[in-house]
Symmetry: D2
Subunit: 376 residues, 4 copies
Amino acid sequence: MDTQFFTDPRLAELHGAASATAKSLFSDRDLSVPMTRAELLSAYRSLASTGYLGGVIDRSRGGAGLSFEEYGAVLEGVSEIAPFLSNHSVQRSLVVAGTEQQRDRWLGPLLSAETIGAVLITEPHGGTHVADVRTTLTPDGDDYRLTGQKIWCVHTMTADVGVVLAAGPDGSAVRCLADLNHETVRRQQIDMTGLRYLTFGLIEFRDTPVAAGDLLIGQGTDEVKRTLAVARALVAVQAASVGQRAVYAAVKHLSTRNARGRAVTGLDLIRERVGELSSRVEASRAFAYHALKAIDRDDASAPALASAAKANATDAAVAAATAGIELCAAEGLVAGAEIQRHRDDAAMLAIADGTPIVNHTLWGKYVIEQSLLRRP
Amino acid sequence: MDTQFFTDPRLAELHGAASATAKSLFSDRDLSVPMTRAELLSAYRSLASTGYLGGVIDRSRGGAGLSFEEYGAVLEGVSEIAPFLSNHSVQRSLVVAGTEQQRDRWLGPLLSAETIGAVLITEPHGGTHVADVRTTLTPDGDDYRLTGQKIWCVHTMTADVGVVLAAGPDGSAVRCLADLNHETVRRQQIDMTGLRYLTFGLIEFRDTPVAAGDLLIGQGTDEVKRTLAVARALVAVQAASVGQRAVYAAVKHLSTRNARGRAVTGLDLIRERVGELSSRVEASRAFAYHALKAIDRDDASAPALASAAKANATDAAVAAATAGIELCAAEGLVAGAEIQRHRDDAAMLAIADGTPIVNHTLWGKYVIEQSLLRRP
Amino acid sequence: MDTQFFTDPRLAELHGAASATAKSLFSDRDLSVPMTRAELLSAYRSLASTGYLGGVIDRSRGGAGLSFEEYGAVLEGVSEIAPFLSNHSVQRSLVVAGTEQQRDRWLGPLLSAETIGAVLITEPHGGTHVADVRTTLTPDGDDYRLTGQKIWCVHTMTADVGVVLAAGPDGSAVRCLADLNHETVRRQQIDMTGLRYLTFGLIEFRDTPVAAGDLLIGQGTDEVKRTLAVARALVAVQAASVGQRAVYAAVKHLSTRNARGRAVTGLDLIRERVGELSSRVEASRAFAYHALKAIDRDDASAPALASAAKANATDAAVAAATAGIELCAAEGLVAGAEIQRHRDDAAMLAIADGTPIVNHTLWGKYVIEQSLLRRP
Amino acid sequence: MDTQFFTDPRLAELHGAASATAKSLFSDRDLSVPMTRAELLSAYRSLASTGYLGGVIDRSRGGAGLSFEEYGAVLEGVSEIAPFLSNHSVQRSLVVAGTEQQRDRWLGPLLSAETIGAVLITEPHGGTHVADVRTTLTPDGDDYRLTGQKIWCVHTMTADVGVVLAAGPDGSAVRCLADLNHETVRRQQIDMTGLRYLTFGLIEFRDTPVAAGDLLIGQGTDEVKRTLAVARALVAVQAASVGQRAVYAAVKHLSTRNARGRAVTGLDLIRERVGELSSRVEASRAFAYHALKAIDRDDASAPALASAAKANATDAAVAAATAGIELCAAEGLVAGAEIQRHRDDAAMLAIADGTPIVNHTLWGKYVIEQSLLRRP
Ligand SMILES: Cc1cc2nc3c(=O)[nH]c(=O)nc-3n(C[C@H](O)[C@H](O)[C@H](O)COP(=O)(O)OP(=O)(O)OC[C@H]3O[C@@H](n4cnc5c(N)ncnc54)[C@H](O)[C@@H]3O)c2cc1C
Ligand SMILES: Cc1cc2nc3c(=O)[nH]c(=O)nc-3n(C[C@H](O)[C@H](O)[C@H](O)COP(=O)(O)OP(=O)(O)OC[C@H]3O[C@@H](n4cnc5c(N)ncnc54)[C@H](O)[C@@H]3O)c2cc1C
Ligand SMILES: Cc1cc2nc3c(=O)[nH]c(=O)nc-3n(C[C@H](O)[C@H](O)[C@H](O)COP(=O)(O)OP(=O)(O)OC[C@H]3O[C@@H](n4cnc5c(N)ncnc54)[C@H](O)[C@@H]3O)c2cc1C
Ligand SMILES: Cc1cc2nc3c(=O)[nH]c(=O)nc-3n(C[C@H](O)[C@H](O)[C@H](O)COP(=O)(O)OP(=O)(O)OC[C@H]3O[C@@H](n4cnc5c(N)ncnc54)[C@H](O)[C@@H]3O)c2cc1C
């Protein structure tokens, strides 16, 4: 069913290669245990040929030159085994908002899987309200010092470099690169329920030095929106993949259960429910690619559409996995049952890059504006 | 928002032309009153240039030679004003299952809007269980006589020719063409809540003569599945369009209401709800086109996918319109409020070509089979 | 199933008598046509012996001296045929907030069904935001003049006297009694989709005289909350009744349909869905009586609980009826099918006395406050 | 909010005492670790004075002589800390279906917390289809031998005696008492996600001796239905309690989060959602007591009603906890967050004594039968 999804054979191929590589890579790995930095880098290297690392970054810069739609197909392939593994956001931030020196310094190691990057935005006092950033970047001679706490960031324990959002000397938001291995940086892992092969936690900067040249060049609001749109649309694709795994896991178990002298998968009631859950997941997948295509052609609707696609996909995936667990009855509740992993991964994706409430609200705002424009 | 939907400019163009023609055509028409045969034919003629009549039928046969995806875009355009207006199924049945003579006789008049066709399958005793067909086709010399009742068919009062499902002399299902203007045919209109510009009702055959040459050549099961798939995927596109109208109608009203000193469309609670409803509708739209593309490339998954797309789209449209009415509060309950029409049209589309329960079950069955194949 | 609901035989008896009277009263009446004033008064008189008019008002004042729970049972009985028929709010407002003269003047005629009262709060510019009242009561000698518009009020065309919310001379909200038959009052009926035996519409006051003695004595906030609580809990009971009728109507139709050689009501898929819809309705009914009991014992939680009960009951009833229509397939869409009436009545009840959004928010606010109190 | 729930002060008192005892009992206990047999018995002893052990069993037999409604209040109290702790079903089975000797032998130790009982019905090959029991009871002289596997039973590792469903010598279902400490019985713990202070797992009988006197006297179908009804209605009460805890846990966390300069609990969007989730839970609680009252008065609807109440309550609790986790955003996903425990407990209760699908179907079947009886 998977590769049939794509009309375009190139997308099918990208998806298939990524999925096959990921499968062979992780077949023996217990994905409930966090990967070390070395393991992650080795996985990245194995996946490099699929475009997983290079992604949408220009070939001239060492990237894979994929379109966003193509990159979505790659991520979806890997996501069948290990959603959210990549650190594509850091690379893209450098390309979009970095200086030439910053790119020279970091892009190579990131794209060749020698370095891991992380994006550090959320703070302990409240993640959604980004305007209220309390980490400060204060002048220290020609350079700066970074002080504050960041939380929930992917690759908290394994990343080497962070793109950090902070309040600059004049109070306005700035972004800078910070060396996470510096002695002034403390990291504390927080165990999460999902995406357990990755690390999350608290990162504290205590007067961490930041060179003047490590400030990212200010992005315009549109660029920030676009960056977020990309992140969200790519979460959407991965969430759809998780939702699909959840449906498969439920079906797999149910095919072994009997009622009224037949496998319960032969009962219309079970089929109807499976169909309903799955159709929402599949619709969310089509919608996710629709959003990626809008990003590819730089449509004005893309940021809002990506919000809609993301919230829709995680809603569908969480619903499919939650209902799937219930369908599996007692077996679904055995500690460690596969389908629980899908639910927990889906729940994680639902929060990353903004909660469903936040993303639905953003889309609703856009729909309202557009429909009022259209019908005066 | 509409035409932005399409990546492909050709689809945008087809959609735009169809929508514009439909708008100008029906701007003065009270769509709560059934159209007469003459009005319908005149509307078809006006729409002919958009491909609405010719659709996917080969240019060599007088059709418009569109792909299913393209035809979906045309239908969606018309659907913004008047969903389900067309009678494309009859034309396609002739092409797929008719004899050369039948095509010679009927295709021209149908494609040039001189004749209206109807598909007559459902019987009063139960519509879903098609196997239990009670209308009979009995031999009468070299020809046949048709006896029985059909119900709920689009164009009940206006159609000239019907493609009728009946039990043949040996009890097996056959399809034949019947002259609905024959004196032995009685038709009785039944008022429905939605799609009120169309006619529905009961059609009774009392020994209606059917010539030997009016039997359709037996379709294989695959062809029947494909025909149904087309019908369902096209309903899906139209339902998405109805759902979108419902969202717009709600927003339009809500933008005029105030609470806490501002328009309620400025409240996050309202935005979030609008966003959630709309994202489901938009996902169902992307999914509908996804199904049409699968039909275009004759994918084995297409029939099941079309069932999924249809049930998903009508679920989303009914939910959006029902919640939309509630959002509009008292104004939404005034008799004749626009948004009610969308809800009633969506509810009609949900039943046409199989109920949501039936279509979800078909998709669920397919998903179960596929996922068991994939994971032995 | 109905009367079995009550543990207390007295409640069962009250419910049974009300239901039987209502049934005999309306058996021949087409409830899709508004009742005239004379018809309404005659119906009230027939129902008087059930406590329908006297309700919770003290026997000493000519009331029936029922508890709120008992009165709920009476309303539920009548509601099986004609929900929302009564005008109990006006009587109760007089008792709670009227002067002795006002009670002497109006209570008798209202309780003996010679007069019909209406409550006039909502204005055309926005119903929820009650603080923004634009109807004004301006001094005119010792008396007052009333100017402004009210909308959506039950009994718009048939009421004799209105309890009107207006902005008083100093801008603060006041309530007064107004003679709706006065020549300065214009009423215009607005056709609604549900509760069609009642009248709704626009009422305009153009310098309507109001005597100084016709001002209600200011209610404290607690009393207003209590009045609203009563209204909401009683809507909840009636909505549960409507939801139950919707389930019955769907089942009745489905028992006549066949699939796979048996009535579809014998299929597990249909049973499960009916069970799920019905269980929500029945839970909402139990919750509605729970709220009434809280009002009876004057519990501090009663106002919030009534909001919760109301929103829960109308959510359940709208869901049951909407899904019920879909379950009935084409028959559910025939204009005038019984189950549509239940959906339309349920949708009306959902808006009366505050929308679901508003009532859920009120309950949520209370739950939040309480749970923070409990867990410091 | 809790004790306010009860109108009847006696119920409030029973609930309050049980809740207080449970709180003091478990305040230091890590409830994610299974309790040993000794710990369980000690807890039972501490709870004995609340009626938790004696329950509905007659005082003459050493029980607490509570009504089912009263017992529900006790269970709900304990459930605030540790749902599903009790082993009341074994006691009740002995009273309803045991012989006098069996009662003499077992009731005392069970009621004085010297012995733990378990109910062993479900088998590994499929739990819902009870008719297909494969554990056999074969004659061995005057006595019997028990062979087969049971799974998922509460108290798997801690119980001393089991009420075991088996196929008797003539193939019909029988129930017998079995000594679970016998050397022929193997037990293997299976870690479950919820109710982690209890033990579940596989129990294997390999020719376990069963004395002739250990067979329970055959229950009539009505008695079995009644026993199941009791079990289900009591699960419903406990599920409502779990749902309520989930709401509280979410609110507690949300009150510490900020957005737009205020606690997010002050935002209407959050309030509305909390209100909606909580109103479903509270309605399900009222419905659960409604079912218990029907059992108390031996109403014919009680078994079906208990199914409805159970499915409704676990639906509401699972929905509240799942949405609650999402509302808590990243904090809700930290491994070990309180609200996850409520979700996992709710999911367990949803499966115990029949899945939601099964219980909704049973209620739907009853509603259909009743409504057809009522409306010929
Ligand atoms: C898997 C995962 C990966 C992540 N990766 C990163 C990363 O790499 N880097 C990084 O910086 N962060 C990361 N995050 C953090 C993530 O961005 C935040 O968790 C998220 O934005 C929500 O913030 P919060 O958890 O603080 O929730 P809060 O902001 O505390 O929100 C609490 C609740 O309030 C609601 N709410 C908030 N504002 C409003 C409003 N205005 N109106 C209505 N409701 C509102 C929310 O929907 C939520 O229900 C990650 C999180 C997860 C789970
Ligand atoms: C807008 C519209 C256009 C239509 N156009 C045409 C047309 O052009 N030509 C034509 O012939 N017909 C047409 N129909 C009829 C349509 O095909 C049928 O209404 C539809 O197939 C359902 O049949 P029914 O209404 O008889 O429902 P029933 O078959 O009576 O179904 C009753 C209920 O039982 C359920 N059910 C049925 N079988 C099962 C099962 N096996 N398992 C579980 N549940 C089941 C259904 O989902 C439904 O809820 C149209 C209908 C509509 C509303
Ligand atoms: C059957 C029926 C009987 C009625 N009877 C009477 C009567 O007897 N007397 C009388 O005076 N009126 C009566 N009404 C009117 C009724 O009180 C109002 O319709 C109702 O309060 C909603 O007001 P509105 O329709 O103006 O909606 P609006 O206030 O315009 O609301 C529009 C939308 O905004 C939402 N909204 C509003 N405020 C907020 C907010 N702060 N946050 C988030 N969302 C918000 C609402 O939920 C709704 O979705 C009746 C209405 C009905 C349908
Ligand atoms: C917390 C907990 C406590 C328990 N306590 C006990 C105990 O003390 N003693 C004991 O013996 N057992 C106990 N059980 C087992 C419990 O009774 C079973 O798990 C339950 O009945 C479901 O059986 P199953 O898990 O085998 O699911 P299955 O029977 O395998 O069901 C699989 C799926 O098929 C569906 N299904 C089954 N039949 C049909 C049908 N006819 N139509 C449609 N769908 C159907 C189910 O809804 C489910 O989704 C407990 C379970 C739990 C979780």
